[in-house]
Every structure is written in structure tokens, then in C-alpha cells.
Assembly symmetry: C2
Homo-oligomer: 215 residues x 2
């Protein structure tokens, strides 16, 4: 496990691609968001050509390193290696956790997604370092995310396991409470920060909402 990663790194977990909406660069948005209180960053970019992903990914990686915030890469373990990421976040259709760990080494932080009881069982069997459960609320960010599942699966995980978990999907400062009350260690946020007029303020609001529930 990366030394700078702890369970509380999940408190305010930003997921963002290489091209946020609006005028600002991804690096500018990320810097503001970290100043506002983001505690973990996942780079999720599936559309740009890889050479551009690597160029922008390196900028974002540098911002995270400057602030000591964990930098994870979605899906692609090869890009995580090239970007010297602290770890990866894997979906159910991605490289299995044990194989990713073989490539990334024992210090890597490896998260996995689950959206129903069967996926939860599969994910737990793979022994990731944390889970992302959702979509909790309806979201337009991820087209293939499926129907919202609420907070029940987070509560179910909590009955079974102490594994660190973030809720994801349509979460902002106004609706983070139920996710945290269900037992999540934090909330993963996409557009509520990346598309906000003031990413720093948006992150700070979510941080304040999450801080009250710190385990």
C-alpha cells in the first residue's frame, strides 16, 4: 500500500478526465479542487488518443504529487505504470485485481467497482484495497452507469466487511449525507466538482459534509 494512502484518503475522491467542461485546464481544476479539500484523485479518460492522455495525465500526476494526494488511473494498468500512479481503479470488466497487483506491485492502491450484490461478492473475492459502490444517485456523467441503486449496497457491505468504500454517482454536498450515514468512508465526485463554477468551493462544501462522518 502506498504510504500516503489511508482509509481517510477516500473522504473526497475526485474522478475527472483530461478535458473538464469550461475554460480551465484539467490541471487548473484539479489544483483548485485539492485546495478545496479533495483527498484522492482518479484520472478517468477514455476518449482522447493515448499520447494526449499521457501528456495531460503527467500534468495531473505532478499536481497530485505536489500536494501528496493519491493519483489513481481508471482501467488501464499500462497507463498507470507509465504515469507512475499510486494505483488503479478497476471495473468488473477490467483487468482482475490480482493480475493488476502483479503488474503494479504490492504497494499499489487498487480499487474496484460494484453495483449489485453479485458484483459485490466478486469484488470482495478479489481483495481490492477499497470499493467504489454505485451509481448511488442518477447521473449523466457516465452513460453506461445503469440505474441508481441508492445506499443499500453500501450498508450491506458494512454488515459484511470493514473494507474501505466510497459511494459514487450523482453525489454532491447536498446528498452526500445518506451515503456517509450508510457507512461509506467518503464520496466519489465527478461533475459536482469538475463542472462546478468554483471547483475549490465545491470541494470544500463536500469536504465539510464528509468530515462530520469521518470514521
Amino acid at each position: 500500500m502506498s504510504r500516503k494512502w489511508t482509509r481517510s484518503s477516500l473522504q473526497v475522491y475526485l474522478v475527472m478526465g483530461a478535458r473538464p467542461r469550461g475554460e480551465r485546464s484539467a490541471a487548473q481544476v484539479l489544483r483548485s479542487a485539492i485546495l478545496g479539500g479533495v483527498t484522492c484523485f482518479q484520472f478517468r479518460e477514455k476518449e482522447l488518443p493515448v499520447p494526449q492522455q499521457l501528456a495531460i495525465g503527467r500534468e495531473l500526476r505532478a499536481v497530485c504529487r505536489e500536494f501528496g494526494v493519491p493519483f489513481l488511473v481508471n482501467d488501464r494498468v499500462d497507463l498507470a505504470l507509465l504515469l507512475e500512479a499510486d494505483g488503479v481503479h478497476l471495473g468488473q470488466d477490467d483487468i482482475p485485481v490480482p493480475e493488476a497487483r502483479r503488474l503494479l506491485g504490492e504497494h499499489a492502491v487498487i480499487g474496484m467497482s460494484a453495483g449489485n450484490p453479485q458484483e459485490l461478492e466478486i469484488a470482495l473475492s478479489m481483495k481490492p484495497d477499497y470499493l467504489g459502490i454505485g451509481p448511488v444517485y442518477a447521473t449523466a456523467t457516465k452513460g453506461d452507469a445503469g440505474a441508481p441503486i441508492g445506499t443499500g449496497l453500501i450498508a450491506e457491505l458494512r454488515r459484511q466487511s470493514d473494507l474501505p468504500v466510497v459511494g459514487i454517482g450523482g453525489i454532491d454536498a447536498s446528498n452526500a449525507g445518506p451515503v456517509l450515514r450508510a457507512g461509506a468512508d467518503g464520496v466519489a465526485v465527478v461533475s459536482a466538482i469538475a463542472a462546478a463554477a468554483d471547483p475549490q468551493a465545491a470541494a470544500a462544501e463536500i469536504r465539510a459534509a464528509a468530515a462530520g462522518y469521518h470514521h
Copy 2:
């Protein structure tokens, strides 16, 4: 460079995914094709979930190893590492050759695609082990392949460089001649073998066509 890879490995280069058309498994088609004369195999599968890609990829890797045929993976360096591939084939939008070499090591065989003079210049600057130039002829296999370019770019490469090269795109035994006469070391074939009623016979025909032009 992998010890079993030489320039003549490119003579009959099969590109296939995890699910060829028809009744046969990919491993069955690959075995027949190698018995017919295939000299190099590239696993190109972009649709199946990665766990299934890895399962079928391992079967195909075992067939290649049994016959001493180089096994390359399209695009994904992480999957190449997990499948213990001999190398990768990279497009212009994929991981740059030098970065892939950093992850795979100096013995890996790394090929790159080019489809016009500008892409050829970029590819040459990256010092791959071989080039794939095309689409030479019209093809329905790869939706994003673009309009056919004929054999002119292969001839242009030959004027500039001795780098090993295969033509790709709509090639079968009947039209391989002009590709080889233009200076290609071999032909990359997709549906002419993978979708053939008799993959072994189809591979043998292409091998016979290519053998006459062996450099």
C-alpha cells in the same frame, strides 16, 4: 528482440480476435492457420470484457508457444504483460513505441501502424521493430480503417528504409502479389484466414504466394 522473431516472421501475419466467425474457437482457427503456414500472430480483441480476453488470450498464447510462432497483442501493453506476449502492435493513437518498450523490455517486438506519409514519418521516428502499412485494399474488418491506400506507401518506405514491413487491409492469396512486389516482407491477414471455411488451406495459399517474394 525476441530470439524467435526475425524479419521472415512477418511473411504470413494473422490478426484475429477472441471470437472468429463460425463454429470453431479462436484456438482451433489459430492452430489450423499455423499448420497452414502462419508465421506471426496478433491478438486483436477490443470488445470482450478483459477477463474473457485474458482467458482466450492465454489459450492462443499457448498455441503460439507450442509452434514457436511469435504472439503479439494489439494496443494494450498491460494485457501483453499479463499474457507474456512477445510484443505489441501499436496504432498512432496508442502508447508511443518508446514508452511501450520501457514497460515490455528490450526483447519485445514492437510494431506500429502507418496509413499516410505523415504517420509513416511519425512511426519511423519512434523506431519500431516493424511497420504495418495499410489499409492496402478495401476492408470491412476494421470499421475505422479508412479508405484503401494501395501499395504506394510501402514502396515509399522501401526507398527510405530497410525496416521490416507488412501490408494490411483486404489482403488474401489473390492480391498479395502487388504488396510483396512493392517491397513488403509479408502480408497481414484478418478475415481471409479467420473467416475462411478452411483456415489451414487459406493460410497455405497465402504462404505459397508470399514465399516467392521472400527477401
